[in-house]
Symmetry: C2
Subunit: 482 residues, 2 copies
């Protein structure tokens, strides 16, 4: 931020004017990323990376609480290994980066940089799983993966991105399916509670499932511009990979069996989801649980005697209450600091000046909703601020939920879909479907929205498919997607 | 471990018989790594990765306490970017992996997989550093890097390895030099205190410094077989990279200046260092600070009434005292469990059986040195075990220090070097040096030991170079190295 010293905070394009430009402005001005000479790859700067570290810490704890262990696989996959599962290689080979030389020598076999690591985990499982006593293995890794995308946008779609990939292997199909659902729930809970971002839990249609999966489950969120964003996925593989990779175990009756597998992942894309769910024309709005700075203390009339000392004291008190707090004692004006706090999406700002000190109080300003409030400068302050942080999270969630409610349209005909989108803008369309892929394609062609998921919570909006009029099998969420 | 159920713990080759085989046995039988079909790359398994996670947590805290922030750079470096600093490219180009294709398309410019990220950090600094107000930047990242090695060994030398790389940029040479030394000290302190591994701090000779550095500082440890291992490095770059990458800032007097840089790193090689410093013929010996399991509770006569309940209670008590404890309630015999604890290097084993419970006590067995001791089953147990863990660390450190003392030879002639190595085995040789690279080469050729470092703690063992007889400039540590 030092560059902007003494200047006004730079303008951010209004969301209404150009949502894509607004997004890029926020990402750059809040110093989340920088571009590089490596096309489609980015530097994640300290403020952006700290958000990811907070997500990692919370998720890693949840993974460990549910019995998972971290491991680390190689970043390379030999071409022959990638090719072992037919659907998987078809899905990924067109978009991988190929290593062909080591130093000045040509490799005997090309290696791809992992786009995902099912094949490596399968090779490892074939090595270590022999008996029912070896099952289950509940593994996860935090790494980056590479997919050679044509068009890229920071966090949303980049050639390299950071993620975690869980890979588990179980004796039975039932256990594997339970795991698939368990981890989808962990993701949904994380998004709703910690990121204050409402999600729809559901299943992908067959045309949209992961390459090699029997079924793919997902959580879908609605962004501020009415577009959908897939925030996390959990895949059930059955024993397809086990068969392709010759993974077998001896069960209790001494019979040889194929185990069943899952994989599941979330990525740095979640940072993009936060920006587009909660952000506004003043900049970022960060959920308290993952905000690098939860509270910024801003002294007013800083050079008057006693102000800075009191601000320091306040900072110490907040920190010892377990709050991630910082003090802005730079030479900038309070007005500049306030705008900067807003742009950086800091959940709560605390103002303290000579008059406040005289009155034994300070002023708390939440980033979203709600008015300024005064708080007593006594031992209750930590709890007051924590309660306000919780309120901020709740308000963010309600606001996002309300936005989704306003932009979710129940439709029974194609005309209704077109009309709803025209009248109210992009959003989730809820409409019945016959189960036929041709109808999915046709709806997308005519209305512009594709199927997002078959939600867990089913309703019968009508008896017939929105497209072909044949008997409806499922309620689907449709939308334009990131 | 399930595979070994009911079997005896598999034999580990004795160190005396074949140190290299002993190392590989330990690494595989303690389930630290698995091999893969990607030559020179490995799977780091849960028990191995948990050691790395513990190292990461401690080091990351130390980095943050010293003002550093984490970032994430792309894993790819365009060939033209790698070539910007002459010495740097000469050092690294011969051993990088090259990406030439994205999907089915040939890239316009080859990208290497980062062997280290100076060039990427420099490009980023050129983008974000403009004024003295932007300095310093104290960055670090936790990633993996790739170097196309010919011969590889788990943890010690692999084509891909995990590490952290700190990259900092400062207004003045003095500040950069202070940082270089500060981080070397952080590493030395970490190795000695947390890993119980004594290290020699020093500077590399010019022939051995990092490609592009003005000077390279290192910590060197002596392994059980008398070979040296470079455990961490810290580089001072001066303004060489800044000039090559056009990084400039405006100082307070409005003059344009080149800033000064450093980089520093430690890797998963430290796990290899732990194994070879502390391990013995029974297997691993892990320093308590990074052991995934610090205490294993082993019930004796487990099926007698009350034993398992008491063991559970004990486990809960240890955990709530902040100790990483586990209970082995498997169906294996106590003897098998004891051997397993030893093989896995668990610092303290707690045995509890019917007679112990009757006497209101349990038995504590440290992995190294010291006898079994009984401890009261009361509220003092947590503290007793913590004190024993500290004792274990101290004993490990003393043992390693004593081993180094016994295998450090002060020599004033080449003959003395040859004789010392022959009589006492490999170790550190301390001998004077004139400063001439030809003498370094000659000593290595004749005696087999190369220069390891110019130690911070200098002594005058003789007035002349051990090789040429010209006036001595520095005391050097020499050794065979991993």
């Amino acid at each position: 931020m030092a560059k902007n010293n003494q200047k006004m905070v730079e303008e951010i394009t209004s969301m209404q004017v150009d949502f894509a430009k607004w997004y890029t402005d926020v990402v750059k001005k809040a110093e989340l990323v920088s571009y590089t000479s490596v096309k489609g790859c980015m530097v994640i700067r300290p403020y952006g990376y700290a958000i990811w570290e907070n997500m990692q810490r919370i998720l890693d704890r949840k993974f460990k609480e549910t019995g998972h262990e971290n491991v680390n696989m190689p970043m390379f996959i030999p071409e022959s290994l990638l090719q072992k599962e037919k659907d998987h290689v078809e899905g990924f080979a067109p978009e991988v980066a190929w290593v062909t030389h080591g130093g000045s020598e040509k490799l005997e076999e090309r290696l791809c940089v992992r786009p995902t690591s099912e094949t490596l985990f399968c090779e490892h499982y074939a090595d270590i799983v022999h008996s029912y006593r070896d099952l289950p293995k509940l593994y996860n890794q935090w790494v980056s993966v590479v997919r050679w995308e044509k068009t890229t946008r920071p966090f949303l779609r980049s050639r390299e991105f950071l993620w975690q990939e869980g890979h588990t292997i179980h004796a039975t199909a039932e256990e594997a399916m339970e795991e698939t659902v368990r981890m989808l729930n962990v993701y949904a809970d994380f998004c709703e509670q910690e990121l204050a971002m409402p999600v729809i839990k559901g299943q992908k249609t067959d045309s949209d499932k992961f390459a090699g999966a029997v079924s793919t489950y997902c959580i879908e969120a609605l962004m501020h511009d009415g577009k959908a964003l897939q925030a996390g996925t959990s895949h059930y593989f059955g024993d397809g990979f086990a068969k392709a990779f010759d993974i077998e175990y001896t069960d209790k009756e001494n019979k040889r069996r194929h185990p069943h597998q899952t994989s599941w992942g979330v990525t740095t894309r979640l940072i993009g989801a936060i920006i587009m769910t909660h952000g506004d024309d003043s900049g970022l709005v960060l959920p308290p649980a993952v905000a690098p700075v939860q509270v910024m203390v801003v002294p007013v009339a800083m050079h008057k005697p006693g102000v800075l000392e009191k601000a320091q004291e306040l900072l110490t008190q907040l920190k010892s209450a377990g709050i991630r707090a910082k003090l802005d004692d730079s030479d900038n004006s309070p007005g500049w600091k306030f705008a900067q706090c807003e742009m950086q999406g800091i959940p709560v700002r605390v103002e303290i000046g000579p008059r406040d000190i005289e009155n034994g109080q300070c002023v708390l300003v939440p980033r979203v909703g709600g008015e300024k409030q005064t708080a007593q400068l006594d031992e209750t302050l930590g709890d007051t601020v924590k309660a306000l942080l919780k309120e901020v999270r709740d308000r963010m969630y309600q606001k996002a939920l309300e936005n989704r409610r306003q932009h979710t349209y129940d439709c029974t005909t194609m005309d209704e879909i077109v009309k709803a989108l025209e009248e109210h803008g992009d959003g989730f369309v809820r409409a019945m479907w016959c189960g036929d892929e041709a109808c999915e394609d046709r709806v997308k062609e005519v209305t512009g929205v594709g199927s997002r998921c078959i939600p867990d919570e089913q309703e019968q909006l009508s008896d017939v498919c929105v497209c072909c009029g044949k008997p409806a099998k499922k309620l689907l969420y449709w939308g334009k997607a990131y």
